[in-house]
Amino acid sequence: MTATHALPRHDRRATGPGGLPRLLQAMDLDAHLDAYGPPPYRGARQLIEVVAAAGLTGRGGAGFPAARKLTAVAEAGRRAVVVGNGAESEPTSCKDKQLLWIAPHLVLDGLQLAAEAVGATRAYLYVHPHPGLHQQLGSALAARAAAGLDRAEVQLMSAPPRFLAGEESAVVSRINGGPALPRFKVPPTFQRGVAGAPTLVHNVETLAHLAQIARGGASWFRAAGTAEEPGSMLATCRRADGTSRSPRRPSARHSASCCGSPSCPARRSWSAATTAPGLPARTPLRCRWPTPGCARPARQSAPGCWPRCRPAGAASPKRSGSCATWPPSRPANAAPASAASPASPPGSPSSPRPGRALGSAPTWSGGRGWPNAAAPATTRTAASASCAAPLPCSPASSPRTRTASARPQATARSCPSPSASPPAKPTGPDR
């Protein structure tokens, strides 16, 4: 993976219900500013209130309410420090790494907003060593510095590639110059952490959600998920043999890219490793498993089940090599109506994003606007409306049978010819 990999421009069209996926939209700084605008600094108290109303909980595994952590550090009374913890350390999880790779500016926005909320002028981004990721993040930070977006100074820290290096007290110990091993937290980190200052340690996914909540508001965040566990969350889907990468030559055996649906027959060959506790069954999971040669599914055939990409009209899923490739070949401002016409290629696919809207209307109000929460997220079909309910998915079934279904489908979209080279997938240890 070279450091010069250019992130594609993001596709602002809506996808699944609740505007999913939310985080995994690959953007470089220009695309990010185009979509989101600069970080909405507006004072500590406001942000904490919005986060509290949104009910954001930590996405690092503990699920602690983010607003309480923010309040505790903000009220500590001294100059605080913020740490973005991207060292997930779970051997089978790589969601944080993917997020940092694909959408680093969301995370960095969240880091800046959290720093403003607790009154910090120093921030750290703590990441496992990974070829290319540090350079990627370094160049992202440099681009932001050049654009004058950041108020807190961010330092990139390397975490040792081992379990427990991502534990909160281990993070603080490492940043303080000691070993990345847990310490006895007395006094607790939010009172005494990095260099004796009150320290806020948040998972990078939590920070990314925070960046979106600051713009979209609490009700937007709560549009996905359940009342008890609002919002969306990232999870790593792995097959039972431990691999999470798709094979180079797709075969019928590997045609299943479905995950998450508990009654999915392909699930027996899957094991989902998630770092989020109590993942509600109703929240559609997104497989971060990049299908080779294809970055997005052509159609959503069953709720909660994300079939692999295949070109319109293709009979066999094995021919997915001719699907839309990543990076895309057209700019992001594709009109949604063009999705219905086979002639016009679709908008830029970004990271593998299953659950694409089915002939949907965009939710983005254009430009730097934020999706209008009141507008329908998608032109829902009966099938996708029940996306929250897990239904059996049969990814091994022939797509020919699906073509006959009455569900509106986005197969009207044609995948552009594979002009671009196969996407440079983030490789490296799947830890």
């Binding site: 847990p182 310490r183 006895f184 007395v186």
Partner: protein, 67 residues
């Protein structure tokens, strides 16, 4: 105000004195590491708890004020 006994699990080297000095709150697992109950320390046990804290060879116990 209630006091609570806590152990620093990283400093503890399983000497096991605490279970002998404060058996009402501390029991030992199969490797002689302490399992401390989260019940508060009543005034009658405070002296024993203080002794456990000062006698621990690894200085791994501490008494915290419980809100």
């Amino acid at each position: 105000m209630n006091q609570q006994l806590r152990v620093n699990p990283i400093a503890c080297t399983s000497h096991g004195l605490c279970a002998e000095l404060l058996p009402e709150r501390v029991s030992l697992d199969e490797w002689d590491y302490p399992i401390i109950s989260s019940e508060p320390i009543p005034p009658g046990l405070r002296k024993a708890a203080r002794r456990a804290v000062t006698d621990c060879p690894a200085l791994a116990l501490l008494l915290t004020e419980r809100r």
